[in-house]
């Protein structure tokens, strides 16, 4: 006990220690969430708490006081190694798993491992923080890192990361961003608290409060007005804002320096296929628009109404169909796909070749900017079908023909294209598809895919690419190919939209379109077939364009968009408890109301009944009515207290109560029944007591007494 007195002077106060321990432990918990199972998380939490208290309490007392920091750290390191060894021993040997179950031994192993890790790390951190000036900074950095790492996956608008939070929120219809914001607020507050503890500024809780208010006002703002729209670098100028203030971008699709792989995983839209369709060439193409008219320097959106009549330029509220439908219907399969746009688009897009769009009800306004059904006639022909086809549409005017064949005044395109088709076998020498294939093959074999290049500021970036280093991205490839097609007399244009690998569908019916899937490709018009995509695929690439297909998000968004009965059922099943809660609440309200009504009924009945009761019941009913009135002003008999004692106790409020009690008891316990037969006397006593009560109690108390429906429950 001698130690207790010294501890009071030297040891830190219990509350700051606990607060700090809780903050660091929660950051351990956060960090461990993605690394281990629940038992591991719990172990890391407990381990941290344990270490915090151990160090904070023990560091100022022997034996820990006499140890060097280095020694303590060494000991904690050996503890860590021991724990890891023990954990691996547990999971690698079959002893424990035979004794209980493999799962139990795994969980035990995780527990020991994470306990050892968090305890030893915390010991190191705490010892440094206690003994050095820089230690506290490391500790704060650690906590900050824990929060940042956990929430960093949430950047880029990935609303479902971390899964623990995302799944929890989404299945309950809560916006996960609010929860994540709350986490952020919590992190900031925790860090501020840590800093305050370290600096020992007792005045700072005031600032702390202001900080908390600011954080939560931000949260409130988000709840009220929503999150700011994520700013994506729209690779192709397609995924940008609907309001077209950025005409410069539209004029120049070649924006080399702005093309970075950053944000490439950002989800753009989700597609739910209503019909089964598997593309032959391994990619789903979604056509949004096309560059088809040469404006003197490069291809641009057409200004002619008789060109690109298969494209649908705008959203309309009703169903809108393309003016021209693709041909070769026997080689195409109708596909209906529901599309939910996560980012605003100027133009609707649909699976190649879209023929009609129809707006649908948006199942989730917070998540989808726009939802619509796209009806497409998706190609099922293979390239053999295209061999020997003629070019162009029969009803094209000469001007249209000319527009689709116009190209920069650069002879090199014609020369290169001519040289490429020179090697064709004689039987294919005049076949348009074979010529186009030769051009595509050339680009496939010689082109290098890269996002970093310097063609943008050339007069003709496509020429700079094709006759230069052949290094570029889809826009360069498609422009170069289109120019060469046109030089060969093949009507071609650059289709733009999205191209998603078929494997991303992963067997489901929903498909997530990410920013990285934005694409441009050359198209050729074959008579009786329609626009056919001939997309160069460079064999060499300098960029890794593979992304995480985010199957879970795809599934989730697809389910959300589908919004069909099964999804509703799923949500219902997840929300059963909430609905039941509502029901329970309503029942509860009804019950409370009924209870109130019946309580008032009983209350006023009991006050009223003595005036109507028979004489021989007066002693009982009158006395009860008076007990009710006294109970209403807070005076009631205690358990085991006799009636006389109670009457004496309330003498200050109602002196006549003693007399009433005597009369009541005489009637109840005595043999003579004479007193029971005089209602007038009882009435007189009642009035007197009521008068005394109203004189001796405060007005507010009497108002309360009158209102309280349950006062009579206390009188006994």
């Amino acid at each position: 006990m001698k130690q207790a007195s010294t501890k009071a002077t030297t040891a830190p106060h219990f509350l700051p220690t606990s607060l700090r321990a809780a903050i660091i432990a929660s950051s351990y918990w956060l960090l461990s969430l993605s690394l281990t199972v629940v038992s591991g998380s719990v172990a890391s939490f407990i381990g941290c708490l344990f270490a915090c208290y151990l160090i904070d309490i023990g560091i100022r007392h022997p034996p820990m006081k006499q140890l060097r920091s280095f020694t303590i750290n060494l000991m904690s390191l050996s503890f860590l190694l021991l724990g890891l060894f023990l954990a691996s021993l547990l999971t690698s040997t079959s002893l424990l798993s035979n004794l209980s179950s493999p799962m139990a031994s795994f969980k035990t192993g995780e527990f020991i491992k994470f306990f050892a890790i968090s305890a030893s790390l915390t010991v190191c951190l705490r010892v440094l923080a206690q003994r050095t000036s820089y230690g506290a900074v490391i500790e704060i950095l650690f906590v900050a890192t824990a929060f940042v790492i956990t929430l960093s996956a949430h950047r880029n608008g990935m609303i479902h990361r971390p899964f623990v939070i995302g799944d929890y929120a989404l299945t309950r219809g809560i916006d996960p961003s609010s929860i994540l914001m709350a986490f952020g607020c919590g992190a900031v507050l925790s860090l501020a608290a840590l800093l305050m503890i370290e600096n020992n500024h007792r005045r700072l809780p005031y600032h702390f409060t202001v900080l908390g208010l600011l954080c939560f006002s931000l949260l409130f703002y988000v709840r009220m007005f929503g999150l700011p729209t994520p700013q994506l670098t729209d690779d192709l100028g397609l995924t940008g804002q609907e309001q077209a203030g950025n005409s410069a971008q539209r004029e120049n699709p070649f924006r080399d320096s702005e093309n970075t792989a950053e944000d490439k995983e950002a989800p753009v839209a989700v597609v739910v296929f209503r019909d089964d369709y598997e593309p032959l060439n391994g990619s789903y193409y979604f056509r949004e628009s096309a560059y088809s008219q040469f404006n003197g320097t490069m291809l641009d959106f057409t200004t002619r109404s008789d060109m690109d009549q298969d494209l649908i330029a705008n959203f309309t509220n009703s169903r809108i169909e393309a003016n021209q439908l693709p041909r070769a219907k026997d080689q195409r399969t109708p596909v209906r796909a529901s599309i939910g746009m996560l980012i605003s688009h100027r133009t609707p897009f649909g699976l190649e070749s879209p023929v009609a769009y129809e707006n649908t009800a948006n199942p989730n306004n917070l998540r989808f900017k726009r939802t619509y059904d796209a009806y497409s006639l998706a190609p099922e022909y293979d390239f053999n079908y295209l061999l020997g086809r003629e070019l162009g549409r029969a009803d094209w005017s000469q001007e249209v023909w000319d527009e689709y064949l116009e190209l920069p005044d650069d002879p090199r395109y014609t020369e290169l294209a001519a040289s490429l088709i020179a090697d064709l076998k004689p039987e294919y020498a005049n076949d348009p598809f074979a010529k186009a294939w030769a051009v595509k093959t050339y680009l496939d074999e010689n082109g290098i895919y890269s996002l970093k290049n310097d063609h943008a500021y050339e007069t003709d970036p496509a020429a700079s690419f094709l006759f230069g280093d052949l290094t570029g991205y889809c826009m360069h490839f498609s422009f170069a190919a289109t120019y060469m097609f046109r030089s060969l007399g093949i009507p071609a244009r650059v289709g733009i939209g999205y191209s998603v690998p078929a494997s991303n569908k992963a067997g489901g019916s929903s498909l997530l379109i990410q920013a990285v899937h934005g694409h441009a490709w050359p198209e050729i018009y074959f008579r009786d077939v329609g626009w056919v995509i001939v997309d160069p695929a460079p064999q060499q690439t300098l960029v890794d364009m593979t992304t995480d297909p985010q199957n879970s998000l795809q599934q989730l968004l697809g389910d959300m968009l589908r919004n069909d009965a099964s999804f509703d059922d799923f949500m219902q099943s997840q929300q059963t408890s909430m609905i039941n809660l509502l029901l329970i609440l309503n029942t509860f309200y009804a019950l409370v109301l009924a209870a109130l009504l019946s309580a008032y009924t009983v209350k006023f009945y009991r006050i009223w009944i003595p005036s109507r009761a028979a004489a021989d019941k007066q002693y009982r009913l009158s006395y009860r009515a008076m007990l009710d009135q006294l109970a209403a002003v807070g005076l009631h008999r205690k358990f085991g207290e006799s009636r006389e004692q109670f009457a004496r106790r309330v003498q200050g409020v109602a002196p006549t109560m003693q007399q009433l009690t005597e009369q009541h008891l005489a009637a109840a316990l005595g043999a003579r029944k004479a007193d029971r037969a005089d209602p007038q006397k009882w009435l007189q006593l009642r009035n007197k007591i009521a008068e005394e009560i109203s004189i001796n109690t405060k007005t507010w108390k009497r108002v309360l007494a009158w209102l309280n429906p349950f006062s009579w429950l206390l009188s006994k």
């Binding site: 358990f639 006799s642 009636r643 006389e644 004692q645 005489a666 109840a668 005595g670 043999a671």
Partner: protein, 352 residues
């Protein structure tokens, strides 16, 4: 009820007065006797109103009391005042001339039963044995330090208390109807005593533990000592027959309702079930208690027994009758715990 009584109820006066105002009943006379007795004793004994009340209750309820007190605290004064307040007016014909108002026996270890009961003495004139009455033949007997005498004397004493008779040489002599014993014992000086066992204590209706009187009362005692001594001649008195009459009247007039009886029984049962109690109270204690309750009610001007009477008497009646388990000291707490439930039932029952 007459209109008079309606006006009367507005002033807080005892209910019994209003009841009996227009129909004078024998109980008024009984209450008058009690009041006179109380006044008579209070003239002599100051600061002991509670003990006086209990003693009178025991007297009228045909019980005996055991006082536990220090020497010189007024036991003898109390007993003497009581004994002298009850006079024999000689109207009763079948009364025994040997009965005296008050006798005091100082118990010592060498006392013999015959010293208490009386002894047959050989009369040479009549050539026969003649019974000489002992000090038990009195209205009020003060048995001082009853635990100092041998069990033999104690048992003779207890026979007299229980049966109201003494037996000497196989001849039974009845004691007076108003035979009332005030026994005392010193709670501290226990060396050389024969403590009364629980069955013998059961004969006493009350065991009253007396505390020292308060300062003002003690001063009053010193101040009025002479006056009280001189007042001896002009005392208020009550006749023996009046006391016996009151006993009868109270028994007839004061109602004990069924709920009161069931409360008593429930308290006893609670006590017997209590783990802290080694041995509970007897059924006889309940039977003895009923008249006491009636007297207590009458003393308060009531013609029915109420919870108040039980609260007043139960600790005195049961205190010396129940044995607590080893380690349990607080008798009052045990009693209160056992009483709470039945008393609540009793209170609630009046509204049923």
């Amino acid at each position: 009820m007459t209109p008079d009584s309606i006006t009367e109820v507005t002033e807080p006066i005892p209910a019994s007065d209003t009841e009996d105002a227009n129909t004078p009943s024998p109980i008024t006379a009984a209450i008058d006797v009690l009041n006179r007795l109380t006044t008579a004793v209070k003239q002599q004994v100051l600061g002991r109103d509670d003990v006086i009340e209990l003693t009178l209750i025991a007297l009228v309820a045909d019980g005996h009391v055991l006082l536990e007190d220090f020497p010189g605290s007024g036991k003898t004064t109390l007993a003497k005042a009581l004994g002298e307040a009850i006079i024999d007016d000689g109207k009763d014909s079948d009364r025994d001339e040997f009965i005296l108002p008050f006798r005091r026996i100082q118990f010592t270890p060498d006392l013999l039963p015959s010293d208490v009961t009386g002894v047959p003495v050989f009369d040479s004139n009549s050539n026969a044995f003649h019974f000489r009455h002992g000090p038990l033949f009195a209205h009020v007997v003060l048995a001082d330090e009853i635990n100092r005498t041998s069990p033999k004397v104690q048992s003779a004493m207890l026979e007299a208390m229980g049966e109201k008779q003494v037996t000497v040489d196989n001849v039974t002599y009845p004691l007076d109807d108003l035979f009332f014993v005030i026994a005392t014992q010193n709670p501290l000086d226990l060396v050389g005593t024969y403590p009364l066992p629980t069955p013998q204590l059961d004969r006493f209706l009350f065991k009253i533990t007396m505390d020292h009187i308060d300062r003002q009362s003690e001063l009053d005692v010193l101040d009025s000592y002479k006056k009280r001594r001189d007042l001896q001649q002009e005392r208020i008195t009550v006749t023996r027959d009046e006391v016996l009459f009151a006993r009868e009247q109270i028994d007839a007039a004061v109602t004990i309702s069924a709920s009161v009886k069931s409360a008593l029984v429930d308290v006893s049962r609670n006590l017997r079930e209590d783990e802290r109690v080694l041995q509970g109270n007897s059924t006889r204690s309940m039977v003895l208690m009923l008249p006491a309750l009636q007297v207590a009610a009458a003393l308060r001007g009531r013609n029915y027994v109420s919870a108040e009477d039980i609260e007043l008497l139960l600790p005195r009646v049961l205190g010396h009758r129940i044995e607590l388990a080893p380690g349990v000291a607080d008798m009052n707490k045990v009693l209160l715990d056992a009483m709470r439930g039945p008393m609540e039932q009793l209170a609630r029952g009046t509204l049923a």
